[in-house]
Symmetry: C2
Subunit: 325 residues, 2 copies
């Protein structure tokens, strides 16, 4: 009997659901809408139905499976309480006892666990990816925001209230850019995909960069993929965007190293597809800021999780972590 | 039979040695010179002799005692390896296998452990002080430098190589003041006692502050105690020094909260004697920089360890932590 885990990734628009085996292979997957209407009961019903359908579709493939549990990645997910709390991008307001509600649909499943998406990605890296066998590492996820998952002594750091690992909101530039959280100068305002766009527009304005490939985009239209394409064509503005983004990121990573002394750092998310454009300045900048005892010791790796499946796979890893523990 | 632990605190000039009971009371203590000549074998001999004398002097007090072990706090102390590595303020260069050398003098003692002084202070707070019963907390030690000890899930964070918890070297002001480590803008360059002096001289120069009580001191003579005395007399420069030091500290503490989500923060060391002068702006500044999910949750407490005994007591706590574990 093959053992599998269910991974659920709750995004602002869609909820992805997959059945994942011990090696991190997604056997089947689907998605449903994350509702904009805030009706949690209907959503839980829809989600439970979708999960059952996925389980059945694996069984139809003639696979004998044992379901070990359900792992859920969600914004503002609280691992200790199994709740989603005041998530800005979801229509469910206040504190939603998500795990409890889902357990009512799957009373025979012991392992239903929830955490935020970056923590899930870090556990995914530990169970299936490049951090296998590592006891102390750090993962930064770069996307619409910047998340992080911190692993100390083989366990994810949840902290006193389940919300640890918000490195996207450490200070990068005092009194700097307005962050989505309302404070100023946080790393997320610089190193996320929208942060890169802000950097591009700052450079264009500073240099009056008529002729840059990026000068043809409106602020609303420009995406980080466009910046990468322009960099590949040698566009000066785009190349400087990556250089500065990497330098800022390296400064933040150095702060995290000074806290935790990790064995390695993993970067995950769209902007990391730019490879050396971002990894090289990030590494150089990190080294510049580090104490001598940490210099030239800590590699920065791209995540080994597949971008498309990573959210589901990361969430499912929560289950394997529970079962192994 | 009363169980006791030996605490040893190695400073640049002196090494303090004490016998400490389970409640954190120092029964007897002494100190020897930390040598400036780098002769480690002679120093280990002297230290072992001093420890034996202290043990005998407790026994002479008619106390039947069982020695559980020796805990050592030392700059650049590596807990995993029991080594002191490249400590800038000690005359022992390179990597000194300190625990191994001391074990040769006390072959019957199983527990001989070493870590850096800030980590020892954090364990002291957990075993004897205000952090009793806390599983997730953070301690910053303010003095000649700024150290920190981070506790996650009831254990000190040592990280991959034993050197975690160097929050004094997180970035506060990009391209700011030169730090003792050679990098720029680190928290230690602002929030240590010498950092406060630098702030005072910056303000004096900025405001041409003739008439300030602090304008009478040379840079070499001014100490943080003088700044406190001046603040007590209402000196504007001194009051601004504390306000800015607290604001900077709060910014750094917010970064640590975003990493670890502690239940509480403890501050230790000379400058904390200034009480509200530093705690109030630190708290306000920390709150300003925090994500909403962390706001108004995390108290900042003064350490409950006695300043004079804390180093010995903290070091001895390493032993109790090992024995309890």
């Amino acid at each position: 009997m093959k053992k599998v885990a269910i991974g659920v990734d709750i995004g602002g628009t869609n909820t992805a659901i997959g059945v994942v085996d011990k090696e991190g292979n997604v056997m089947v997957k689907t998605s449903i809408s994350t509702p904009s209407h805030g009706d949690i009961d209907k959503y839980i019903n829809d989600l439970a139905e979708a999960i059952k359908e996925q389980i059945n579709s694996v069984r139809l493939l003639n696979e004998e499976i044992e379901i070990l549990g359900i792992g859920i990645g969600a914004p503002n997910g609280n691992y200790y309480k199994g709740t989603i709390e005041h998530a800005p991008n979801l229509s469910f307001k206040g504190i939603v006892p998500f795990v409890q509600l889902l357990k009512e649909k799957f009373p025979s499943l012991e392992n239903i666990a929830l955490t935020n998406d970056a923590n899930a990605a870090a556990i995914g890296e530990m169970i299936y990816g490049g951090a296998k066998g590592m006891k102390n590492f750090v993962m930064y996820t770069l996307g619409t925001g910047v998340g992080s998952g911190l692993v100390v002594d083989g366990n994810l750091v949840y902290g006193a209230d389940g919300f640890a690992g918000e490195c996207g909101h450490t200070m990068l530039v005092p009194d700097g850019r307005l962050c989505g959280c309302g404070a100023k100068g946080h790393l997320e305002a610089y190193c996320s995909a929208p942060g890169m766009k802000r950097t591009a527009f700052e450079i264009i304005a500073r240099d009056n960069a008529i002729g840059s490939l990026l000068a043809k985009f409106s602020y609303e239209d420009l995406e980080s993929k466009d910046i990468f394409d322009a960099a590949e064509k040698g566009d000066k503005v785009a190349l400087e965007v990556f250089k500065k983004t990497g330098e800022w990121l390296g400064q933040g990573l150095a702060d995290t190293v000074h806290h935790l002394s990790p064995e390695a750092i993993f970067l995950f998310g769209g902007p990391t597809a730019a490879g050396d454009y971002i990894f090289k300045p990030a590494k150089e900048s990190m080294e510049k800021h580090l104490l001598p005892i940490f210099k030239n010791k800590i590699p920065i790796y791209p995540s080994k999780l597949k971008l498309g499946d990573a959210a589901i796979v990361g969430a499912s890893a929560l289950v394997w972590k529970e079962v192994d523990a």
